[in-house]
Amino acid sequence: MDLLSVLKNAELFEGVTPYELDALTKICQQRTYNAGDVIAAQGDVGNELFVICDGFVEVLHSDSPSDPSPRAVVNLGQGQIFGEMALVDRGPRSATVRAISKETIVQVIKRDDFEELCEENHHLGYIVMRNIAADLSFKLRHQHLTSQ
């Protein structure tokens, strides 16, 4: 699947114009991970947002840095994003994200590139920020459902 099709199917970009989507493709960088690879580590400084194109990742949370058995919070598949919290609030990574598929392909967007694009185009910035908020809301709803 080409990059444009991948981005069209990600909720993060729902509502952006074709021109804006094209601008977003220019700041995306593709990476591929193997099962077991750590993509982001809890506590690390993060300045990248990830969009899953193919495969699955698991999100793990530790209660403390010395916690020997982190808890799986959710698995994320095609079209999902992660790393958005650190992108928005500039805090440390809130969880560890590990690839669990043999070949997990993600698109990476760097914060500086993303913020520059949002400053240049406020409509794009509003749409994507709204969609990040909606995605966080959906993740909370999922967590509520799994803990029932």
Binding site: E11, E14, F56, V59, V74, G77, Q80, L145
Partner: protein
Amino acid sequence: MPANFKVSYVVRGEDHPGAIVNTDQRPLVGDRVMLGEREFTVLEVIDLIPPRGDFHYLHVTVQQTED
């Protein structure tokens, strides 16, 4: 543009964190889905929140497929 379904999969009967996945087809009861390396069977499908744009938001309960 075809619809997109953003699905919250909740696994019944075991301690599993579930999964969130986009799909271009609405899951149906009895369907088999792969979440990571494991296969599950769909037990229930509910609209979680109203659709927005091309996206529909579903809550799907699944359990491990037994062959």
